[in-house]
Symmetry: C2
């Protein structure tokens, strides 16, 4: 019975870093060889990183990616291991999202992705031409192998059935599949079905790492022809997973390239022993999106990895965070310390006349718990100077004090300026602390609390911020985030006795509306049918629509849901809001 | 000889404003009837506005757009005029970018756009399914009419040849074609060729108005079957243009719907008298992109319309601008006054210890010339307060003075906070003044000079800013922008004797590099082949790549080139820059 050892090379690439990515591929090929693997499979667009976005419009960049692939292929000259590496394949009619089979120093064959996602965060039809044509198969250690790339395997009528019918026993799939809460289970369910339906084994290799808004969570796996999970890699970590697979002797239909003797083609018949096993998916065991609570551990890991990769891939080594003593900044600081260690995280407390003693103390306690430094820069003097300077223009009588929202935003912006000055002087990246509920309704100050380089929890609703903080505390012997921070009512502390629920509905009421309107794309009218209060819906929808201009100027942050603000939700700023629905 | 009167209804819609857009369509239908027109043609996606972006992902929004179309169709019950109106047509297999033929109170037929642009600023494959199938023709006043939508007519093998072969004498094309410098001439050239090749008349109706980054310039036109320009509408203005067209008697091939007697079908032969005339395009008279200077009048009109529409469609009535006495803010203030009138434009001068007397005086002179108010808010006191507050944290010895870039950015951010405070207190929109050269190399302060709601000249290179300022001065009897502003060397005035050319190459050298790297998508290596200095290229390319994070947080502004920053150029922030090329 033929036996094939496959290395799932779950690596973390950097977009545009052709040299660095290529070197990493070569290192992993050598390691796969050391592990005795016949085949080493890499993620989608290994050479360029994913997504390369408009770099793909530069023909020179595409040319250099081909040169990099050639260097990688050369490095296989003395290896027994055959590599399957993602790259961009140019042609006179357009560029393809491609997988190269590299062996013995050269590129044996090239597969072109056939299904191009152009929804959600994906814009692949902007860049790529879809592949067509006959399945590309190769025989290795007596086993016939077919290829697919990411979206190809998500559609039932993609290339997999044709390859399986042509004799493929193993389908190697290259992926750059972004994380969102619950995605890993969806992938496994789909792969089990695809493998079982086509009676083949699927080796699914996913990228790992953060790239701007996107997190690739790894979780590579092998599914057997009965839909069973044969092997799986870690999530949120680089890893090479070697799997030894046994196959029945192929008896030949279809064409394939024999790797040991390239160019020779034969017609093996369909392998026996497959074709009748059906997987039992047991739908009653599958939790639906509506009832499933978020997987806080995975989501937290995504936030940690996203933060670490954004900081490090962009050449920063340290970060600074304004610590108000509130729950958002406390959680962000905790994530930052888990991502970078306490020595690379700096806290700044910027109390005003409205800061409660409790909040200032809570920030100190948090910093102590985390082992990070905390410096204090009170904003009172600057606030006074601004008020005096602006009194003339804004026509406020003598006392040198602005009022209302103007004064609240002013305080927030003073803090933004302080953090940015520290960032400029020290070279530290500012992490912002706004959550998705605030981003949605515009409960934040442009250039104030939203000023910074990376918005760690911008896709986490406030109710999840609370749950995640409690979850994180439960992971340690002693709570990291002070209990008082979790228990006190949320407040921006920009005026006397301010509380969030004076301006907004309670987050337990607000968050389900936001989920339905934003993630589920309902209209105001439909929300009313769902039983939400019409007046409340009208107000919330109007707040969300009007805040689009603020969100357009927000820093990127980690995507953890099926619809994050950013490239995932592309709304016009100029729009007549609220004309549809009540 | 059959005669058909066509109304080109070049209207300005608002995205999402289903009621407002529908009412406007009805008004124009009534006006077309008054003018005795048989046919009234509207722009692409008339009912929803263009581009509706992710509103299209809300099924409820699409449903309400159909209801709005039905209301418009009903309004034609008593009209002789037949309307062709753009809307979104849902179906079980996806939604279509569609044109409805409405007459006598109902929708007679619906055409589906066949070619979907998914490049540059367009994402139509994200939303729409492409139409297929037989040409949809209708006969009106004895003339056979076919339909096409925007991109359909840009491709030689789109629906036009098939419709012409089936007997169409007139093709009505619905468009939302965005402006960039030189686009109008490209459109006319293409339409002349398409009309002549297919021996038909083309009535091309374009939208007009600003929508976030995009400007629709109108310029609707009719091209005759010899490629000749029969009629044209204004640019940058709403307009109804009635054109009386004469056609030979159709003699029948193909199927068409006869509007006066809907449902009856006959097979007219191909109209005689067409089919042999060739248009003489005289390529020697066509100026190429490389040698053509920008059309400053059109570009200026685009900036004026873009600013006016952003302000008004978003519910603002007044704007505020920081006037430094430099050329960028002077030009932006002039554009704003031309867009809104002097009473709705407010200037703020925010001098520091580094502001030259000349600059302060220049700002005053500009404000006087424009007839706008100018208030002064010196930043010295706030600057001193910040320096004192930060001295401890940033470890600057006793004098309370920050240094270098930190201090420069601080001053810029203080000005940003002042403008935003005025904006909050007065409800005025802040216009920012950065140009494309600065945006490209990151020569601006995040949350400082880039803070605001709309970045008027963000797609105008600095060398063009100079030319445009001179051009604008030439339009008036007395120069509006003081000569001193145009003549003095550019400076941010954030330290003693600062000049832009201390940090950047002269703009005459920089701008051609930026155009080649950004608009023409060359790599650093290719720029070296073009003869630019390798050291300079390496520096400029690195500056551009590193500034992506700043651009991501910039407000939107008017697109006037073939590649603006924003949705037009989608670059990763996290990227290893400069690894390709020297």
């Amino acid at each position: 019975m033929p036996e094939l050892s496959v290395a799932l090379c779950q690596i973390n690439t950097v977009v545009g870093d052709l040299d660095g990515n290529s070197s990493k591929v070569i290192d992993y090929l050598v390691e796969a060889e050391r592990l005795g693997c016949d085949l080493a499979v890499f993620p989608e667009l290994t050479i360029t990183g994913y997504p390369p976005e408009d770099l793909l419009l530069k023909p020179g960049f595409v040319r250099e990616n081909v040169e990099a692939l050639e260097r990688v292929a050369k490095a296989t000259a003395d290896l027994k291991t055959v590599g399957v590496v993602g790259f961009v394949d140019p042609s006179p009619i357009g560029v393809f999202d491609a997988a190269a089979v590299i062996a013995k120093g050269w590129t044996v064959d090239v597969y072109h992705k056939q299904r191009l996602p152009n929804y959600s965060v994906f814009d692949e039809k902007r860049y790529f031409r879809a592949g067509t044509g006959e399945p590309i198969l190769f025989k290795l250690a007596g086993v016939i192998v077919g290829l697919a790339i990411c979206e190809d395997v998500w559609v039932a009528d993609g290339p997999v059935p044709g390859e399986a019918k042509s004799g493929a026993q193993l389908i190697a799939v290259l992926n750059s599949s972004p994380y969102y809460d619950g995605r890993l289970a969806e992938r496994q369910l789909m792969l089990a079905e695809r493998a079982a339906t086509n009676s083949c084994t699927i080796a699914y290799v996913n990228q790992v790492g953060g790239q701007d808004e996107l997190i690739f969570d790894g979780g590579s796996m092998v599914c057997g022809p009965a839909g069973e999970l044969v092997a799986s890699s870690s999530t949120f970590a680089e890893e090479i997973t070697a799997v030894r697979l046994h196959f029945p002797e192929p008896t030949g239909i279809g064409n394939y390239v024999q790797i040991d003797d390239a160019g020779k083609r034969s017609k093996p018949a369909r392998p026996a022993g497959f074709g009748t096993t059906l997987v039992h998916l047991e739908p009653e065991n599958i939790t639906t999106e509506e009832t499933r609570p978020p997987d806080l551990a995975a989501m937290y890991a995504a936030l940690v990895m996203g933060t670490r990769d954004y900081v490090e891939k962009n050449g920063f080594s340290e970060v600074v965070i304004g610590l108000s003593g509130g729950i958002d900044s406390s959680l962000v600081a905790t994530i930052a310390v888990d991502a970078l260690g306490p020595d690379r995280v700096h806290g700044v407390s910027m109390p005003s006349r409205y800061s409660s003693r409790g909040s200032v103390d809570d920030a100190k306690e948090l910093a102590q718990n985390l082992g990070i430094d905390l410096q204090e820069v009170p904003i009172e003097e600057v606030h006074r100077a601004f008020s005096a300077s602006l009194a003339g223009v804004l026509g406020v009588p003598g006392v040198g004090r602005l009022s209302g929202l103007t004064d609240e935003n002013l305080q927030s912006r003073i803090r933004g300026v302080i953090l940015m000055a520290i960032s400029n002087a020290k070279g530290w990246l500012v992490l912002t602390t706004g959550n998705k509920s605030e981003m949605a309704v515009g409960y934040s100050t442009l250039y104030g609390d939203s000023a910074g380089g990376f918005a760690v929890i911008k896709d986490v609703l406030k109710t999840t911020v609370f749950k995640m903080s409690e979850w994180r505390n439960d992971q340690a012997e002693k709570p990291v985030i002070p209990e008082a921070v979790i228990l006190k009512p949320p407040s921006a502390e920009l005026r006397e006795d301010q509380r969030d629920d004076q301006s907004l509905p309670p987050y337990e009421v607000l968050d389900p509306i936001l989920k339905a309107y934003i993630e589920d794309d309902m209209t105001a009218e439909e929300l009313v049918y769902l039983g939400f209060d019409p007046g409340l819906i009208s107000r919330v929808v109007s707040l969300v629509d009007r805040a689009e201009y603020k969100r357009r100027q927000m820093p990127p942050g980690v995507r953890v849901t099926t619809k994050a603000f950013g490239k995932d939700r592309r709304m016009p700023i100029t729009v007549k809001p609220n004309r549809w629905g009540p």
